[in-house]
């Protein structure tokens, strides 16, 4: 039931990424916090969200031209919290979170192909709306927009379900066997990733400051 709610939540919020604002509702941080709260693991959900957001802060929520970073974190949350029954006892928790996080990335990147395909095919709605404007009415745009929103929401649900099940097979196979030095290594990686997130932010900030260093100092304007 919680898995279904997670999929519905993702499908609903992903509309913001494709057809609305964007108000950043489908960003990793928001999805991580919400899904963590949904599964009763708010701190871990937030940790996954903050990590995803830090690593992919430069990927703007600009529709299918960019991969949906929120999907990677949403999937990671479902695998990390929903497959707890399969997780080997005594293994550090960070190891499971690290496996879920790494498994989510290729699925989210692959889902971009589906996004591009859907965008190509929503041209039908766009042509319909354009014909409406050519005849002096805006009704077809409303209809096209409504159909587009339904389509994007449905696409997000399907992609989530497929990825959740395929990735679930991976996590379901890995989790019971995860232990010993491999689990220790993954747990260490999980502990190191926040430093990577901060480094990504610094890389962005220092890159911008480096380009604009002249504007740090007052300049004399044209006479």
């Amino acid at each position: 039931m919680t898995g279904l709610l997670s999929a519905l939540l993702y499908g609903l919020l992903a509309i913001d990424h494709f057809a609305g604002g964007p108000f950043l509702l489908s960003r990793p941080l928001v999805l991580g916090a919400l899904l963590g709260a949904l599964w009763g693991r708010p701190a871990e959900g937030l940790a996954l969200g903050l990590l995803g957001e830090s690593l992919w802060v430069l990927v703007p929520p600009a529709g299918p031209a960019q991969w949906d970073t929120g999907l990677a974190v949403a999937l990671a949350c479902v695998w990390a919290f929903g497959w707890e029954g399969a997780q080997k006892a005594g293994t550090p928790r960070g190891a499971f979170l690290a496996v879920a996080f790494l498994t989510g990335i290729p699925f989210a990147v692959a889902a971009k192909r589906v996004d591009v395909w859907v965008r190509r095919n929503t041209r039908l709605f766009a042509d319909y709306a354009r014909a409406g404007f050519n005849h002096g009415v805006s009704g077809p745009f409303w209809n096209g927009l409504g159909m587009s929103i339904v389509l994007w929401g449905f696409k997000s649900l399907v992609v989530f379900f497929v990825a959740e099940n395929l990735g679930g097979l991976v996590c379901g196979a890995v989790y019971p066997r995860l232990g010993g030095p491999v689990a220790e290594g993954l747990d260490q990686a999980w502990a190191l990733w926040p430093a990577l997130g901060a480094a990504t932010l610094w890389h962005l900030f220092f890159g911008r400051l480096g380009k604009n260093w002249k504007s740090w100092f007052p300049t004399r304007g044209p006479a």
Binding site: L24, P42, W56, G136, P181, A198, L201, R208
Partner: protein, 244 residues
Amino acid sequence: MSVPVRPLVSSCARSVFLNGLLTVQRAQSLGFTFSLWPVLKSLYARRDERARAARAHLGYFSTHPYTVGVLLGVVAGLEEEKARGERSTEDVLAARSAMAGPLAAIGEGFFWSTWLPFSLAVALVAAMVFPNRAGEAAALFLLLFNAPHLGARISGFYLGYRYKTQVVDKLALLRVQRAMVALTALGAALAAVRLAVGPAGVTLRPFLWAGVFWGFLRLGLRPSVLAAGTAAVCVVYSLAKAAL
């Protein structure tokens, strides 16, 4: 002939759907025409006149979704003048295409590259300061990011409509570039604070690791690849340590 307040408010509110029916061929032109529709409807009572005015805006058009308010305001003001016979369609389209690119650049530079990372840095520090109310960091992130986003849409529309093509001079007074530098420096400092302060107090070890990662990022490695690489190196190190 002037546009009443209600269509102007409606036009500004509809700008939320700018990316609604985005296509590769015409980008955001449909969303832009849809946003402008209440203005066109109030200016042209006849359907064929409205269609002619809308058709002019259906060519390729692309800008940043958060700075589109300025452009919508300018075009609404110019359309008003056009309806009075003071402007031509070419004037309106020339102003639109001349301003779309620079406004997109401002939006990209400010919102995506500065304000989004800054909001994240604030959320990171908030999650550290209030660990028991960590979930609210996400709400803070959303509020912090969307307040200027919505402000830019609404005030941009107002300024664009009021000053029309002269709005460029007014926007120059905002000193966006200076604000971006200040926010960038502050964001970097907040990220450093988050890194240094852990559950066990202030530590410098994470700085060392962040420096190493920063070096790899400077080499052009992607964060996702670096995350996977870190995991692989950590696993190999643990296996080697266990074997020895």
